[in-house]
Symmetry: C2
Subunit: 312 residues, 2 copies
Amino acid sequence: MDHQMGLKREETGVDASKELPPCCLKAMAALPESESKCINTVVTGWFSEPQSFSGESCKYFNNPMWPGEAHSLKVEKILFKGKSDYQEILVFEVLVVGGGDGGVLREISRHSSVERIDICEIDKMVIDVCEKYFPYLSLGFEDPRVSLHVGDAAKFLREASEGMYDAIIVDSSDPIGPAQELVERPFFETIARALRPGGVLCTMAESMWLHTHLIQDMLSICRATFKGSVHYAWTSVPTYPSGSIGFMICSTDGPPVDFLNPVNPIEKQDARKSQRELKFYNTEMHKAAFALPSFAKKELNKFLTPQTVKVI
Amino acid sequence: MDHQMGLKREETGVDASKELPPCCLKAMAALPESESKCINTVVTGWFSEPQSFSGESCKYFNNPMWPGEAHSLKVEKILFKGKSDYQEILVFEVLVVGGGDGGVLREISRHSSVERIDICEIDKMVIDVCEKYFPYLSLGFEDPRVSLHVGDAAKFLREASEGMYDAIIVDSSDPIGPAQELVERPFFETIARALRPGGVLCTMAESMWLHTHLIQDMLSICRATFKGSVHYAWTSVPTYPSGSIGFMICSTDGPPVDFLNPVNPIEKQDARKSQRELKFYNTEMHKAAFALPSFAKKELNKFLTPQTVKVI
């Protein structure tokens, strides 16, 4: 792979300010062929998200985001398989999907303080498929406070009134590929503009184990864009490569937001309403999510708002 | 798999007090054939810990501990392949192994308060192979405080003087298979006997995502055996199935041990000695490790010593 080591970002259409680490060079080199030929697939009853056919069309047995790694799940039965304009969709008997599945809406619905929820999903097929196969997720759409907008989120936000939102949650797919625009500076600036002073952004921000340089890029942009505060948190997700996923949490200039100590702890919400019991999230886990391993602190701290994490 | 649903533990040689959950029934049913025929293997440059040959000899493409799941890593080069009396050993260019690799010794060596370190490893081949291929781990053996004992840990501890140790760390392999004895009551009683009053046990205790019933069994035994306190903590390990591994941390009756707040924080140790910098562990991560998701709290809390986790 030596011939790829000099590959710079301008050759791949990405910011050319610094060289990419070897892991991403391999990933980028694999991109054109993987995008055209390699799809998530099921071979002899096993599903690997990062996987290609073993034939000649692909050199990599994996997703370009995670070279050299594959995670396989045994598939009992394929319920749905189709290709929308934006992505390939497979539905298994047991598997959680991201995006417009309604799961985030369902969780927002727990909060009685929320008055209005706009959701902008580009891929209507995701919504339709999830409604059929994941009704326990898509019930989030049933909340009367929800307004659905099918379309491009960047465009939607550009057209939104300035300071319109208290909080914006970005639940998109991985940043290398079609969703790349959603981790670049113009999109974050559009978000900051659409948020009120002291408004909050939460977006998925990669695994600290795999792509700290992508996290650095995102944090660096947000540090320049969000004048309130910028934080990084993570949690355990067994189905995601490396077993964990991170979140970037920022606030715009305005009333300070204490992200580590929720003003409306979920336990109080749950006590007030007879909703489905939460299986994972609680206030202790919320706070612990901000504790970072030393290597992540070392690589990310210069972009983060200082915080004190203490467990007593 | 319906015919396996009634399988009870007496049929598999395990405690018959309650029925096993479906995940482990599958695992147990696969055991005899997987132990005899299935080994970790490398197929076309990929290594799957839970994997079998795709021929007729094995029905399961995975390790019986994790039915329906496989995690694959791309292997650059096989450096060593051999079979000891106890296990098959493969060494790749990049891969962390458990057991007698010296890694735990190396970390204990950081603590100047430790006067003597006995290590009991049953498999001499692990030590030899790691010395050759993982010198940065096995350097733990070079500490003059270390005494190596090659043999069965249970026997070693039975012969130890009562109350001899301040702390015992069990770094064994998975509890289904040869190391099963190390998660059963007699072994824990032997440990408790070998510890001083207020002495500490730390042992690996499965992933909360995969085997809460095994964790419950271990905690239940330890709650009866360790009269000081019993705790469960976890951390992110990308290479382990589900991406996380748990630890059971107990103390014998005696001076109470505050597990959440280390009396000798590692940061102070590091500042005092010019050792290799820690990449993961720090006091924040130590404390955060005790925060449990709601489902784990619900299933494990009755076995645990109450604690207050607060992040400020």
